[in-house]
Symmetry: C2
């Protein structure tokens, strides 16, 4: 993959939604914005490989911060990430070589391409999560030792904050979260800034290409009126965990997150539901789906991916869009191997989210 054009954005949006596991923000809005930017510029987004970035060049990951319940209603002004990138370049007196996708899940997969077009920079194929996570210290850049500072936040009113010294990624998360709430519940984030050498040592490669392949597969199924869940699961080395109807959603926006729980009831016809438990499936989420339980057992946890698709056309469902009566397939996909090390599990394993269970990985790796 060496470029992204108008023809690619639908597939990437679907694939990013699948990898978003319910979070990462709306792909719908960012896809519209990316399409507009592609039309206005009349050219594609240039995609490069991490290994093409010189060791001493600077790159920065960018994304949106905040609850998807907020960012769906409080629209971006459009230039906030670019402003934050330019402010960091001015602060550091060095230009960026490329834009990095902070999280491939949800709208945060598409936003960096808009910024890249605005800044005239290429985008690196890969990201720091291979999915979406609720907190910004939960990426492979932070987990594997890239410094959190300097980082920048920007809002839609032209306000910018730069943090030149921060003593930990956790502290960065807390400052950024607090300021994001003050900025109205969503903000543009540029973090981390890193060298090409650091990028190559820490990025999860090729996840933008994976998102595109997933989306292409879903679109192909739709064209043939096939339910896409099995195809997507196979493409990602995972499985369809459950299918059924959403019978309860409990959701609240607290401390800048969309938190809650949903309950899915199985269909009766057992050939529609060969993987099924007889009992309901329960999923808890904090922006992203974190843990799935059924028949009294834990069936899947972070960092493995728990994604809901609409049953018929395989449209991924954000946790902010869940509602009673939706007919869904639940996918369980293995995490990328970079999220399965002891260092990573300390930050993104089930215990890091407050669940008193060990991580029992699904077989295989996402990539």
């Amino acid at each position: 993959m060496n470029q992204v054009t108008l023809d690619d954005t639908q597939a990437i949006a679907i694939g990013a939604g699948v990898l978003g596991t319910g979070g990462g923000g709306s792909t719908y809005l960012n896809r519209l914005r990316l399409n507009n930017e592609l039309k206005r510029r009349g050219g594609p987004v240039t995609i490069i490989q991490a290994d093409d970035v010189p060791d001493d060049a600077l790159v920065c990951a960018v994304g949106g911060m905040g609850a998807p319940t907020v960012s769906n209603e409080k629209l971006q002004e459009g230039q906030e990430i670019k402003r934050a990138v330019r402010a960091l370049e001015a602060h550091l007196r060095q230009e960026m070589h490329a834009i990095v996708i902070g999280e491939i899940g949800g709208g945060n997969a598409l936003g960096p391409m808009i910024t890249a077009l605005q800044c005239g920079l290429p985008v690196v194929d890969g990201d720091g999560m291979g999915r979406a996570f609720p907190e910004l210290d939960m990426d492979t850049f932070m987990i594997y030792g890239v410094a959190p500072a300097p980082f920048a936040l920007a809002d839609s009113h032209g306000n910018v904050a730069i943090f030149p010294r921060i003593d930990s990624a956790r502290q960065a998360e807390e400052f950024a979260r607090s300021l994001t709430i003050e900025m109205g519940g969503s903000a543009a984030l540029v973090m981390p800034v890193m060298t090409g050498a650091e990028l190559k040592a820490t990025i999860i490669r090729d996840t933008l290409s994976l998102a595109k392949r997933i989306g292409d597969a879903v679109l192909k199924c739709r064209a043939r009126s096939m339910e896409p869940a099995e195809t997507v699961a196979a493409l990602c080395n995972g499985k369809v965990l459950f299918s059924g109807k959403i019978i309860d959603v409990e959701r609240r926006t607290v401390q800048g997150f969309a938190r809650g729980k949903l309950v899915i009831s199985p269909f009766n016809a057992s050939q529609r539901n060969p993987h099924a438990l007889r009992q309901n499936l329960e999923i808890e989420f904090q922006n992203e789906n974190l843990i799935a339980r059924g028949s009294g057992e834990v069936l899947c946890t972070v960092p493995d991916l728990i994604t809901l698709l609409t049953l018929d056309d395989g449209e991924p469902i954000g946790t902010e869009s869940l509602r009673y009566g939706m007919r869904v397939a639940v996918l369980a996909l293995p995490a990328p191997k970079e999220l399965k090390t002891p260092e990573a599990l300390a930050v993104v394993g089930p215990r890091a989210f407050g669940y008193d269970v060990d991580y029992a990985p699904l077989p295989g790796d996402l990539l």
Copy 2:
């Protein structure tokens, strides 16, 4: 006044306490810290006049942000303001010419002298409030049009935040307040950065000298076993509003402020209390004392200064130190003229603090 030595800090601390109207943070702690710094450096703080600063030189106001109830217990690490100054100098690629006192009230009068010693810079005689105020957009620099950005916040763990672009002083206050809470309830603030020309157009001059004169007068009364309240009131063109015993204090720390109300009951002997109402005096505060009421009337409001002194020795009392049984004199001192313009009253008048009363100025000006 052209320098501050160890011999001056007690008087300045007392005078700053008087001007602090209950807020501005503890003078006790900052005086100890200033004394230590003076001993360590073996030299005085150099004091300059605003008019000595070249028009194109840069200066910055510094101070502590947060509730005094917090900063009395969560001690500073000691270098946080210096770190914030250095971070701004690096960001702007220009060195500071002098340090400016953001607010002359309370410990914030003394902190800038510590920073100045640490940075090897002089301090300007004057400040942006002529007293203390709870919010950082409430100084003459902001009121009269100095840009709020760039500003910097720093905590005791080495974390620094710089805000290079901020669209209003109000917005700066909100971001800084939110981040101060995240930093543990108190933080070092460098704001605003301004040119010598801007400084000269907006500073309230000679308030450091005034604090010293007030403190000297109190110390002289103590040496003669005189109650200092009348002397201080006369020196500041104000009056003793009331004297009596504190019979109730209601105080809570909310949203980073110490808020509350106190009730003072008059003494019986009327020659001790010639100014007295027969009824109780009630004062409401938000870090600083904001409004005094008695006999069903409003007697004094912001921006005029309402200060409590211990009756016997004239020690100013911070709102965090108020307690039942204290015998106090209540001073009502006129605000500096810079706080009485329509622009200023829109920000620091009684209505800006939510009181539905017009500002009825005390006669005269503080300076």
